[in-house]
């Protein structure tokens, strides 16, 4: 047993870090350090830099642009990305629809979509949740009825991040209402400029329209845009659940936030002394760091299992990473709010989005915005309570 990286892994880490140091555009890095929200142009620009290096979609099968890295190297890459800090790749493209098409798409779909998905020439959004289908996703009601070579889609999706910017939606629709709810679902790719689609932005607590409602009114979707078989969509959606294990804990992101909290605390004065020297504050930070170190090792243990299993077997331990990872991400955003003091009171959405100079200190004014928004970390992708249910059933057998 040796938890340290091998020399080869260390050399790889240095190579990756060096790349992030030299190739991440300074304006984007600045925004990330400030906790601002990267916009579409910036995410695209960065993804194309990664793509030129061959690192746009490292986790994919090599024939579609993957690097062939093992789980440890993928982890090293993701941690370097978070520590840079660089924007995360568009998750709907890179972590979701790409792997699904590689596993279940037709050759034609793969050729048509995958290069554009990797280079972000095509933006996808995710049409899963509905007003009545959140944690109970399988009860979704958006209906698709076959009509010749098309499906005709009617219904409504909710929590559709990037729908207002996306070219396509991967969407779960009900094609058979008369069978067990998981059995009558189909997976469609829907072009967002199809007549009958309307998008209403939903502004989250940070003041940013991170997400949307999408309405379908007799929207015609060609049958060739169906992924896999009709009524098997639930299986394809479930495929992703355990797939995202490696990055799900976001340890690097929390480290990066804690580093910023410590740096900032050095410039904040409490009782005539830097907050960074205040023992109560230091202990609070240290307590989070201990949990984070433990999570990092837990993460490594799961990665080690992934490496051995060399497959896509779902691992309920991913739920542990999700629970603890989201809690610690939230704890780090909370500390940043406390460090920032009353400067968090200003709502500076313009600065947050990047098009206006800040009134308050650039490092402080985003803290509350991020704190508010990241309450979603323990909700999306299966709330932490759902993760508890998964562990109780799949690990404890309760």
């Amino acid at each position: 047993m040796d938890l340290r990286y091998t020399d080869e892994e260390l050399a790889f880490r240095e190579e990756v870090r060096e790349f992030f140091r030299t190739e991440l555009p300074e304006d984007i890095r600045r925004k990330m350090i400030n906790g601002q929200v990267p916009v579409k142009e910036e995410i695209n620009r960065w993804q194309k830099i990664l793509n030129r290096k061959g690192w746009a979609v490292p986790g994919w099968a090599p024939e579609w642009g993957g690097t062939g890295w093992d789980a440890v190297k993928l982890h090293i890459f993701k941690e370097a990305m978070h520590l840079a800090p660089a924007p995360e790749p568009l998750t709907y493209n890179v972590n979701m629809i790409g792997p699904v098409l590689i596993a279940f798409g037709t050759e034609e779909q793969k050729k048509c979509f995958l290069p554009g998905i990797a280079n972000l020439d095509i933006w996808f959004c995710q049409g899963f949740s509905e007003p009545g289908a959140g944690s109970d996703l399988a009860s979704l009601k958006t209906r698709a009825v076959r009509d010749g070579n098309d499906y005709v889609v009617n219904g409504q999706k909710l929590w559709t991040g990037t729908a207002h910017e996306a070219d396509y939606m991967f969407c779960l629709v009900r094609t058979d209402p008369d069978v067990k709810k998981q059995k009558g679902i189909t997976y469609l790719l829907i072009k967002m400029d199809t007549p009958g689609i309307s998008v209403r932005p939903v502004v989250t607590l940070d003041g940013v329209p991170h997400t949307n409602e999408v309405f379908f009114d007799n929207v015609r979707v060609p049958v060739k845009n169906r992924v896999g078989e009709e009524n098997k969509g639930w299986d394809y959606a479930k495929y992703l659940l355990g797939n995202e294990r490696i990055g799900i804990a976001r340890v690097g992101l929390s480290k990066s936030r804690l580093n910023r909290a410590r740096e900032r605390a050095a410039n904040v004065t409490v009782d005539g002394k830097p907050l960074a020297e205040n023992s109560r504050f230091r202990e609070r930070l240290a307590a989070i760091e201990v949990e984070l170190k433990a999570l990092e090792i837990t993460n490594m243990r799961v990665i080690d299992e992934v490496k051995r299993s060399a497959g896509n077997a779902q691992d309920p331990k991913a739920s542990i990473l999700k629970i603890k990872g989201s809690e610690l991400q939230q704890a780090a955003t909370e500390v940043l709010v406390e460090v920032s003091g009353r400067d968090v009171a200003r709502s500076e959405t313009g600065f947050l989005m990047g098009d206006e100079p800040p009134i308050g200190p650039d490092w402080a004014v985003t803290a509350a915005h991020n704190y508010f928004y990241h309450r979603a970390d323990s909700i999306y992708g299966g709330s932490n309570e759902i993760q508890h249910n998964i562990i109780a059933k799949a690990i404890l057998g309760l």
């Binding site: 047993m1 202990e283 201990v290 433990a294 243990r301 542990i320 249910n389 309760l398």
Partner: protein
């Protein structure tokens, strides 16, 4: 990065796990506890025959030649069994001091005797006023010809009642809490001037408060250089924390298993109580705490003998913090989920809780180590 055990380590794990499964049921443990010393001499011999008593010692001293990982394997199994024999005191603590700091002669004289089971030892470091400060030492060692004379009181010496020899921390020079000026001395427990007051401990073993009055120690029984023992004292405490963390993981995983089993079998309102979501989620939170603890026990094991003293100290403080938090949570919830039976001596789960509670006080509690880690600047560096 590699989480695999070697072939030898796997065999060690199999044999010690089997031993605990066969010889350490709750009923058997109760019987061992009623023996004269509160543990079983026959088992001690068996540990010796299996090579367990020499796990961390080099082969040339009759040892198994293992490292921190081998100790982790043994301690985790012993944690699951709530093993009563003086393994931690003899092999990890006192044996560790000699293994890491002793002279060639001392190693040759002592380690083979620990290995064959003929010598029991204890580590007398704590004092009434010292709380968790390892450097807070009032016991004195004064030069006496070629040798030394020790005076002072040592408190809560685990297995100090049965030890043949003690490793005693005493001050050669400096002020009460100076790191400089400390020495480690090998003291015969039956030497003139040593008096022991022994008692049962909450976790089912025995401890002793020990008074040393004018106890003479030969020059050859000083471990390392008298007055310069601080780095060794730290090393012993770091090995101890790694071992305790693994023991805690064994105890926590046993509590987790027992509790989940109970949730599946205990019926109320006509159903197994494990069908209630409130209890399911609690059991999941226990599992998360256990796995976080297990991860830090592994990290602690990896760092326990790291040559970089500063990084090692931070890592071991962090390990003790996580283990303390995890074990407290798992233990308290294990009892809560059992209901009344969990609060009785008749049922095993409470005994694990008592052990992990005492463990929290050994080599510094959560608050102590959190404060130390915070002072040292925390764990996350800008380099990540």
């Amino acid at each position: 990065m590699d989480f695999d055990l070697s072939e030898e380590q796997r065999m060690l794990k199999e044999s010690v796990d089997r031993l605990v499964a066969e010889r350490y049921s709750f009923e058997q443990r109760k019987a061992y506890g009623k023996e004269a010393e509160g543990w079983n001499r026959g088992l001690w011999k068996q540990y010796a025959d299996m090579g367990l008593l020499s796990v961390p010692f080099e082969e040339k001293y009759g040892g198994f030649g293992g490292g921190a990982v081998e100790t982790m394997i043994v301690m985790e199994a012993f944690g699951r069994g709530l093993v009563l024999e003086p393994y931690f005191a003899t092999v990890v603590l006192a044996g560790g001091a000699i293994r890491m700091g002793g002279s060639e002669e001392q190693k040759k004289a002592i380690l083979p005797k620990i290995a064959d089971g003929s010598l029991l030892m204890a580590y007398a470091y704590a004092e009434r006023q010292s709380r968790y400060d390892l450097a807070d030492v009032l016991a004195t060692a004064k030069k006496d010809g070629a040798g030394w004379v020790i005076d002072g009181e040592k408190t809560v010496v685990i297995h100090g009642d049965c030890a043949d020899k003690l490793v005693v921390v005493a001050r050669v020079s400096g002020g009460q809490r100076d790191k400089d000026g400390l020495g480690l001395f090998i003291v015969d427990a039956k030497a003139a001037g040593v008096s022991r007051r022994s008692y049962p401990t909450q976790d089912g073993v025995r401890g002793a408060d020990i008074t040393l009055k004018g106890v003479k120690v030969a020059a050859g029984d000083v471990i390392g250089e008298a007055g310069k023992a601080w780095p060794l004292i730290e090393c012993v405490s770091h090995s101890a924390i790694a071992a305790l963390a693994s023991e805690a993981v064994g105890a926590m995983s046993a509590m987790q298993d027992i509790t989940v089993e109970y949730l599946k079998t205990r019926q109320q309102f006509g159903v197994a109580i494990g069908s209630f979501q409130a209890l399911q989620h609690r059991a999941v939170d226990m599992l998360v705490a256990l796995e976080q603890g297990r991860s830090m026990a592994m990290y602690g094991t990896m760092m326990a003998e790291d040559p970089n003293a500063e990084e090692r100290a931070k890592a071991m403080a962090a390990t003790k913090v996580q283990i303390g938090k995890s074990a407290k949570y798992v233990g308290q919830q294990a009892i809560q989920l059992h209901g009344g039976i969990g609060v009785t001596m008749e049922y095993k789960v409470g005994h694990y809780f008592m052990r992990t509670t005492v463990m929290e006080t050994q080599f510094g509690d959560t608050d102590h180590h959190l404060a130390a880690l915070a002072r040292a600047g925390g764990l996350v560096s800008a380099a990540g």
